[in-house]
């Protein structure tokens, strides 16, 4: 099971809140962007896929149905990175699993960051470290909720390049909630908008 065989993320007839019967398949290595007005239910859709909220519908990773495994194993595989990350320990290092030097460097950190006090992190640093923390748990699919909202242009570019590389290398399906049209053009293979109770292909 630990063997990294690339698998697609398959969402079938998922309903949560206003959204009804969402069907979506994200292939290995594919980045699907999702946009919509605030309050349209983007974050709730991600939470439903990660099985954090009560909802209807099915989600599978390849052949494996979510219900066939423990909920925490599912979330470790299908990793949600929320717009606002939470930190419970004193130092950054207490929150990570298997950290890779190259990931830290790709986003402008060094190993020393693991000893930093969480209370002194800026919102931008928190956001980048939250993504590194999530990747350090070696997920098989990623759900990103506005991951560059607190980043300047330079760091946004670094972040995009890093995620694109990761998606390629590890053949992860990625669902990326984004606002910025230019960013969606740069990273997304497909783009959906939430319109009322369903997803609509943008353009």
């Amino acid at each position: 099971m630990e063997h990294q065989s690339p698998e697609s993320l398959v969402i079938k007839a998922l309903s949560i809140g206003e959204l009804k019967d969402v069907d979506l398949t994200i292939s290995p290595g594919e980045i699907v962007c999702l946009s919509g007005e605030s309050g349209s239910g983007k974050s709730r859709l991600l939470r439903a896929i990660a099985d954090l909220e009560v909802h209807q519908g099915q989600v599978c990773l390849g052949e494996r149905a979510r219900e066939s495994m423990a909920a925490h194993d599912w979330r470790r595989w299908v990793m949600l990175v929320p717009a606002e990350s939470q930190w419970w320990g004193d130092t950054v290092g207490e929150h990570v699993c298997h950290i890779k030097e190259e990931d830290l460097e790709a986003l402008g950190f060094s190993r020393a960051v693991l000893g930093w006090q969480v209370s002194r992190l800026s919102s931008g640093e928190k956001q980048r470290l939250a993504a590194i923390r999530a990747l350090s748990c070696q997920p098989k699919a990623l759900l990103l909720d506005e991951p560059t909202a607190n980043l300047d242009d330079d760091n946004t570019a670094k972040f995009e390049a890093w995620v694109l590389k990761k998606a390629q290398e590890q053949q992860m399906p990625i669902l990326w909630v984004a606002h910025d049209e230019a960013q969606i053009q740069r990273v997304g293979h497909r783009h959906f908008k939430i319109r009322g109770d369903h997803l609509e292909v943008a353009k």
């Binding site: 990660a50 099985d51 909920a71 979330r75 470790r76 990350s85 939470q86 419970w88 929150h95 999530a134």
Partner: protein, 267 residues
């Protein structure tokens, strides 16, 4: 040693001192004059009634009546545990979890103490069973209420932290572990403090009462030690049981945090 019985006119002198306190606090505009008088009146009425009940119970001494009394005490304690929580579990769970955990720990410790340690004949002799259970339930109630309140309050405030831990693939036990341990600890602290301070800072009420009632201090001390040990064990296990059951109820079968199972705070 004979006991000096208190007559009602002697008690009324003490009551007069309470009235004096109420009057002075009214003059000082402390706004507690009326509460003092009402609380004092409640003490008189409630204790007189319970005195009558206990006298009747002691004279009958049958198991059924002792069990009924114990059951009523448990239900009242369960209600009190529920009332002391700001965010409580909906649908009777707050009452159920509090009552069941007090029943498990409180009754087990009481019955064990009666049968194995003190050993009156029969073991449910109300002179021993009811005071022991009363002391135990009263303190277990505090421990259970405190720990459940701490747990639900922490979960309510820190739900995004718990959810973020879930997102990172932690099991529900891991995600709530810190809060669970903290809640259990807070339920045990009062008794740990009471044991540490006993006899130095404060003379425990039960022992004082027993000495005033004519028992030799040596016997009173032994009973006090016994009671404090049983209370510590009862409230400790009670808090652990309540927090375990309560935190389980805060997650569903897919390990989702269900804050919708808690009531919002009432003003």
């Amino acid at each position: 040693m004979s006991v000096i019985d208190l007559s009602w006119w002697q008690l009324s002198i003490a009551a007069f001192m309470v009235i004096a306190l109420a009057v002075v606090s009214m003059i000082a505009k402390l706004n507690v004059g009326k509460p003092i008088l009402i609380a004092a009146l409640r003490t008189v009425i409630q204790l007189t009634l319970i005195g009558l009940v206990l006298e009747a119970l002691f004279s009958v001494g049958s198991f059924h009546w002792v069990a009924l009394m114990a059951g009523v005490m448990l239900l009242v304690a369960g209600r009190e545990v529920m009332a002391r929580q700001k965010h409580r579990l909906k649908g009777g769970w707050a009452f159920g979890i509090g009552t069941v955990s007090m029943f498990i720990s409180g009754f087990t410790v009481t019955v064990l103490t009666l049968t194995v340690v003190i050993g009156p004949d029969p073991w449910y002799t109300p002179q021993y069973a009811i005071p022991l259970l009363g002391m135990l339930l009263g303190n277990t109630m505090t421990g259970v209420a405190l720990s459940l309140d701490r747990l639900t309050e922490a979960v309510w405030r820190q739900r995004s932290v718990i959810e973020n831990r879930l997102m990172l693939g932690q099991s529900w036990q891991e995600a709530i572990g810190d809060f669970r341990r903290e809640a259990m600890r807070s339920g045990m602290m009062p008794m740990i403090n009471a044991m540490a301070a006993a006899g130095i800072v404060s003379l425990p009420g039960m022992m004082t009462g027993q000495i005033l009632g004519g028992s030799p201090p040596g016997v009173a001390v032994k009973y006090q030690i016994l009671v404090m040990f049983t209370i510590t064990v009862g409230s400790g296990f009670g808090a652990m049981a309540a927090v375990s059951a309560g935190s389980r109820r805060l997650f569903d079968e897919r390990e989702r945090l269900r804050t919708d199972r808690l009531t919002a705070a009432k003003p």
